[in-house]
Symmetry: C2
Subunit: 194 residues, 2 copies
């Protein structure tokens, strides 16, 4: 069965965006600081390897409606989703009237979206979780197999917190890898089912 | 001049304690999970080296009143402070009637306490910040030179957040070292003055 992974750039104080994220500024004010390793001035071959691994593994993506609304079309993703034409499942109460065929809208919650994404990703594939809310809901529901953080050397002070609410109960992890690049510390964890 | 460092064990979701910390449970419910590398079942020689470095460097400690109240005396520190007889400066509105001579009570704020601690620590010494609130106040005031986190592979879900409020403005860091031990990822950062 496909596995489910969250992989996010995060400041040392736990933010995945700066303050006031919007369609105009999907990363919030100053939030591009968190993504320079991905596509900006801090990008190195070692970072590219980490990205390639993520993109290569993604058989499907699950995201929330905010991520979709902020980034679809000329918000940044063009005709596709965050990983080109990889199928994306968007958790929403109300699907939009029209959308790129890359997107499937799921109205019965994150567990349903993940189940659909797993079916598409195939037995050896990975489902990538996109956005902090989706990651939190999936963690709280016990549906995540792996968490990767790309830890950026900055304290943002404000923004959207990656692990704001994971259901109030501890979740054990096992660190499986650390990759140090000049501007990011890429740390992978396996979720330990107690 | 002495330098100022914060060094704390923290969960991947940014907590330094479990929920409901008190004098009975200064680490909160389940918070001992964050300190097993320090003195518990996960402790290894490599962890001991990291601890030895911290303890050896500490010429003075600055803490808040909560840390003092929770841990002084038979709360765990006995006749001394968190680093034996290393001088401790406690930020408080009202000093207690009696206390171990290790402690000096400072009623005019964290900057004053840090200045006094630096004077005691000596030119090549380090001032250690103890507790999340003290670390946050010192960071917000631009008084911290180094931040070390001992990242523990667990999502706590609740507790006291290490970087809950650092004044709302970004603070740039530079990663200076990563040490991987079986149950902790010790990451040091230098605070970059912009």
């Amino acid at each position: 069965m496909a596995k489910v992974a969250s992989s996010m750039s995060v400041s040392l104080d736990g933010y995945v965006t700066g303050p006031n994220d919007s369609r105009e500024h999907p990363l919030g004010e100053g939030g591009e600081r968190l993504h320079r390793w991905l596509w900006g001035e801090d990008h190195t071959p070692a970072d590219a390897e980490v990205i390639g691994e993520m993109v290569g593994a993604a058989g499907a993506v699950v995201m929330g409606r905010r991520s979709y609304d902020f980034c679809e079309g000329d918000g940044g993703w063009g005709d596709g989703g965050p990983v080109g034409d990889t199928p994306c499942f968007v958790v929403t109460h109300e699907p939009p009237a029209t959308a790129s065929p890359v997107f499937t809208f799921v109205t019965d919650g994150v567990a349903s979206a993940i189940a659909k994404a797993k079916a598409v990703a195939g037995d050896d594939g990975w489902v990538g979780l996109h956005g902090a809310t989706t990651a939190q809901q999936a963690l709280a529901a016990g549906l995540v197999d792996e968490v990767q953080v790309h830890l950026i050397p900055v304290l943002m002070g404000a923004g959207v917190r990656l692990f704001d609410d994971i259901g109030g109960k501890p979740i054990s992890l096992e660190r499986t890898r650390v990759v140090e690049t000049p501007q990011a510390t890429h740390i992978r964890f396996r979720v330990v089912r107690d």
